[in-house]
């Protein structure tokens, strides 16, 4: 039975039979079913559904199992203040499409910065080379997916003029100088991104996402009796111009001042192993480094992770629940659809102390025979998607912050971090503490600063002996680096006690 494309649509019931006999080019009139929103993305990238299908056909021509196209148009702006004035602006426009072909676990990838059919076919041909059989690919029906919207905004950055942004950056500077007379230098930056993403794959899935990002950063230097100290504070959300308001500026200015002030008179603790109390919020860096990366399924598929054979096993106390989410409203780590077209899910990495799920991309979810978790992310159209975190946090526990601190005879309380790292196989992770306090006989005493803390992931997770109910998400400018790719993330934590970690310090 041969059907024309039109009669096929009219008699939708025979869709599967119909597809088998249709040459790909006849699929063009499917765009009648495409939403106006989707159509605007096709127009933005100057492509038609027919072009997408031709490129996919080329990508699959050597016998690949799967192929996808990731289009991205991103406009980024930075407005900077230094020495009292908003006197620098930076803008970047980035545009292109990445073509990926999978053959089993194997990946072929290439991209182009122009979206003419000729250029796209050329890179598709390159990516196709990961496979080497004669292709038997049959073009499927185009299925548009309309993703949910986890970051509703009221005013797109593209419609905001520079002069509307300037006063907020200036105000950050002015407030910081007003708040403390020791302040000698302030720098402030406002960053906004507007990214348009379009995705199409060999299964016919067509979808799109508009990803805004807004960040405000303040750095301050203070001088007191010849001592110079500096600190910074940041806020970041997937929001539009409504991100900026007086309260945000005030909160950021005050936090920057507080973080700098604590450094005067701060010392280093005694070097060695001791109990560490992690304050609510930014301490989620412990989850991110100590467990999160090791739960990423690519490391496990490659047998490199120290958690490779721990699925379903108890790895923490039973009150510990660790979540990986990408659906929190306007959160920096949220995405409406992942960079492989998959739904974004809230998953429990650890449920009641038991390792419950890895963090999956398409390759690994197929390898492990599980549903994708929506963690396939890429830095840009120039990169292949890999399993990445989004928002990683621990749910509230049964204890109180006061109980936790009073439980410690000698240790440290830490709540302000700058960076962390992990060695996946060895399981050793670290995070750098910008400031915190000593705990002596159950009380916070002397401020401390500039020390690294190091531990072993599985051991540290097992050593979390108390967790409070004061869970909160830290909305700062978290960037996670892996395999040469950076993606925005965030994290959250209640106050917890880790029985023992190695704290940098002095032997005196």
């Amino acid at each position: 039975m041969k059907l024309t494309r039109r009669s096929f649509i009219q008699t939708g019931g025979v869709a599967v039979a119909g597809t088998m006999v249709l040459p790909p080019l006849l699929n063009s009139c499917q765009n009648l079913q495409i939403s106006p929103d989707m159509k605007s993305y096709l127009d933005l990238f100057e492509v038609t559904p027919q072009m997408l299908q031709k490129v996919i056909a080329e990508a699959m021509s050597k016998g690949g199992d799967y192929a996808d196209l990731f289009f991205e148009h991103k406009i980024s702006n930075t407005l900077g203040l230094e020495d009292g004035n908003v006197n620098q602006a930076y803008s970047n426009v980035d545009y292109g499409v990445g073509v990926r072909v999978l053959k089993g676990d194997q990946t072929g990838f290439a991209y182009t910065e122009t979206t003419t059919l000729q250029d796209m076919l050329k890179v598709a041909k390159t990516a196709a080379n990961i496979a080497s059989d004669p292709g038997t690919f049959k073009q499927g029906e185009i299925l548009e997916k309309i993703p949910p919207n986890y970051y509703k905004i009221s005013q797109k950055w593209e419609n905001v003029s520079v002069d509307d942004k300037i006063p907020y950056v200036q105000k950050v500077n002015d407030r910081i100088f007003e708040l403390d007379e020791k302040v000698t230098k302030v720098r402030a930056f406002l960053m906004d991104d507007s990214a348009y993403v379009m995705f199409y794959n060999s299964e016919g899935l067509l979808t799109h996402d508009y990803r805004p990002m807004s960040s405000l950063v303040a750095l301050c230097v203070m001088e007191k009796e010849g001592q110079i100290e500096n600190a910074y504070s940041t806020r970041s959300f997937r929001k539009g111009f409504e991100f900026l308001n007086e309260e945000l500026v005030e909160e950021l200015a005050q936090e920057t001042i507080d973080r700098t002030n604590i450094l005067f008179g701060a010392t280093k603790p005694k070097a060695g192993e001791m109990p560490v109390v992690l304050g609510a919020g930014g301490s989620g860096i412990l989850l991110h480094e100590a467990m999160g990366h090791a739960f990423e399924a690519d490391f496990n598929r490659k047998r490199e992770s120290i958690f490779s054979d721990k699925m379903g096993k108890s790895i923490a106390r039973d009150f510990i629940n660790i979540v990986e989410d990408g659906t929190i409203e306007n959160n920096r780590g949220s995405i409406n659809v992942d960079d492989e077209g998959n739904d974004v899910k809230k998953i429990y990495l650890v449920k009641d102390g038991i390792l419950n799920s890895y963090i999956h991309d398409r390759i690994s979810s197929k390898y492990y025979g599980v549903e994708p978790t929506g963690n396939g992310r890429r830095q840009s159209f120039r990169h292949v998607p890999i399993p990445r975190m989004r928002i990683t946090y621990m749910e509230p526990g049964p204890h109180s912050k006061e109980d936790i601190i009073s439980n410690v005879d000698y240790g440290v309380y830490v709540d302000n971090f700058t960076n962390g790292e992990v060695k996946i196989g060895a399981g050793d992770f670290t995070f750098f503490v910008k400031s915190g306090y000593l705990i002596e006989k159950g009380k916070l005493t002397q401020p401390i600063k500039d020390i690294n803390i190091i531990g072993n992931g599985p051991q540290a997770l097992a050593d979390i002996t108390m967790a409070a109910g004061d869970y909160k998400i830290q909305n700062s400018t978290g960037m996670c680096g892996k395999g040469g790719q950076s993606v925005p993330v965030s994290m959250g934590m209640p106050t917890v006690l880790v029985k023992k970690l190695t704290v940098g310090g002095t032997s005196a």
Partner: protein, 439 residues
């Protein structure tokens, strides 16, 4: 994009900006071609090719400054509008009298030596040969040790070209090529799965070391088996050559004009002062033939110079660009490093180890950071305990903590094993009195 095409677009963009209200303009166009082949389990795991273009334009408009960048270079109408809108936006900013192009007399004016930073045969390297390089190093590991659980071998190459024009009389271009082979091996014994990796790289394909990369990575991984932390204490530290950059970077950052002017430097006002031991001698040399950081002009077009940065512990030079030079009322020296050449000593790494009574050889870092204003630092480390001149125990999960103002004064020995695979040409270094935290 050919060099001529790049010049043509760059000059067009510069003229367009000048005709639409900018008083000064600098345009830089870069493109970068690269390929990467990753193999594991005797199959190609990942094959990637990239061809990237970008244009950056510095706009100086009525004493105001902005910089724009785009990779959409094909449509002049769109580019023109992008530039016009940026000029209009720049006018809303505050004036900044220090923002200008460099003084033309400081520009590179041509006639420099050939620094041999590019392989003219880049395009003719056979793709099959690239794949076979990666398989060769994977084979060095497969079946060699039953504790091996994962091997990844990666071939990577890259060719980049840049042209730059400035409206007060600069024109320059350069090309760089790069090849590398890397192996990463995970081994298992007990719970831990330590990973070892090794990389070789070159500017010319024929110069790339294509054997032994897998073997080295395997050795690095096996050496880590049985890692543990030891008692905290103050000990001397040997820092392996390839890791030495981690302690030098904060020192170099503290010499940067921006750090000094923004008071984020622990070396403010220290020129001519002793900041390290007599063994600390560093020269910035842009003219080393086939050096990884070799270049005739910097990112602003300033002609590069060979100059002393630190001589026998005495601070001789900062890294000052045009903007911060004006703010600080200092002569610009170029704001970035070229080849940093650390004066070597006379012992190799084994000699340094043999001479050590008790201390730690650091072979890798794990996180950590430093405080630019004060010089305080704390980093995670791994390596080996040295006892009576021998490596006796692999160590990990430890920190080193201190202050860079003191640490460089405690530099007590320098190796002769300069690593030349990086623009920072550093030997292994030995420091006294390092605070290690472990148990």
């Amino acid at each position: 994009m050919t060099k001529d095409e790049k010049y043509s677009i760059a000059k067009w963009a510069m003229e367009h900006a000048l005709n639409n209200g900018a008083q000064q303009v600098r345009v830089s166009i870069s493109n970068n071609n690269s390929s990467q082949i990753e193999v594991r389990d005797e199959k190609i795991d990942k094959l990637e090719e990239a061809n990237r273009n970008s244009m950056r334009i510095n706009l100086y408009v009525d004493n105001k400054f902005s910089r724009i960048a785009t990779n959409r270079l094909n449509n002049k109408e769109e580019l023109g509008r992008f530039i016009e809108e940026a000029i209009a936006g720049t006018r809303y900013l505050s004036e900044d009298e220090f923002r200008t192009l460099p003084q033309p007399e400081l520009y590179y004016k041509g006639g420099g030596a050939d620094l041999k930073t590019v392989d003219q045969g880049f395009a003719s390297v056979d793709p099959q040969q690239k794949i076979s390089h990666a398989f060769t190093i994977e084979k060095e590991v497969l079946g060699k040790d039953e504790r091996v659980i994962s091997v990844t071998a990666t071939y990577n190459d890259e060719m980049s070209g840049n042209v730059m024009v400035a409206s007060n009389g600069f024109e320059g271009d350069r090309e760089n090529s790069y090849y590398s082979l890397r192996a990463s091996v995970s081994v298992k014994s007990g719970e831990a799965r330590p990973q070892g990796s090794w990389r070789e790289s070159s500017i010319i394909h024929n110069d790339l070391i294509k054997e032994g990369v897998g073997e080295q990575a395997l050795k690095k991984a096996l050496d880590k088996l049985g890692q543990k932390k030891i008692q905290s204490g103050t000990m001397p530290m040997i820092l392996e050559n390839r890791q030495a950059g981690r302690t030098l970077r904060p020192l170099i950052e503290a010499l940067n004009g921006s750090s000094i002017q923004q008071k984020n430097s622990f070396l403010i006002g220290m020129e001519g002062e002793k900041i390290g031991s007599d063994l600390l001698t560093i020269v910035d040399d842009p003219f080393i033939v086939s050096g990884r950081g070799s270049r005739l002009f910097d990112g602003e077009g300033l002609a590069t110079k060979k100059r002393a940065i630190i001589d026998q512990g005495v601070l001789k030079g900062y890294y000052i660009d045009t903007y911060y030079g004006k703010k600080l009322d200092m002569e610009p020296t170029s704001g970035s490093t070229t080849n940093l050449v650390f004066k070597p000593g006379d012992k190799d790494l084994l000699g340094l180890i043999t001479s050590m009574d008790r201390g730690i050889l650091v072979t890798g870092f794990n996180g950590g950071n430093s405080n630019g204003s004060t010089g305080d630092f704390s980093y995670g480390i791994e390596g080996f305990l040295v006892e009576n001149g021998k490596l006796t125990q692999p160590v990990s999960e430890m920190n080193i903590t201190g202050n860079f103002k003191q640490v460089w004064k405690d530099l007590v020995a320098v190796g002769n094993d300069v690593y030349t695979g990086s623009s920072w040409r550093l030997p292994s270094l030995v420091f006294d009195n390092i605070e290690f935290s472990g148990i």
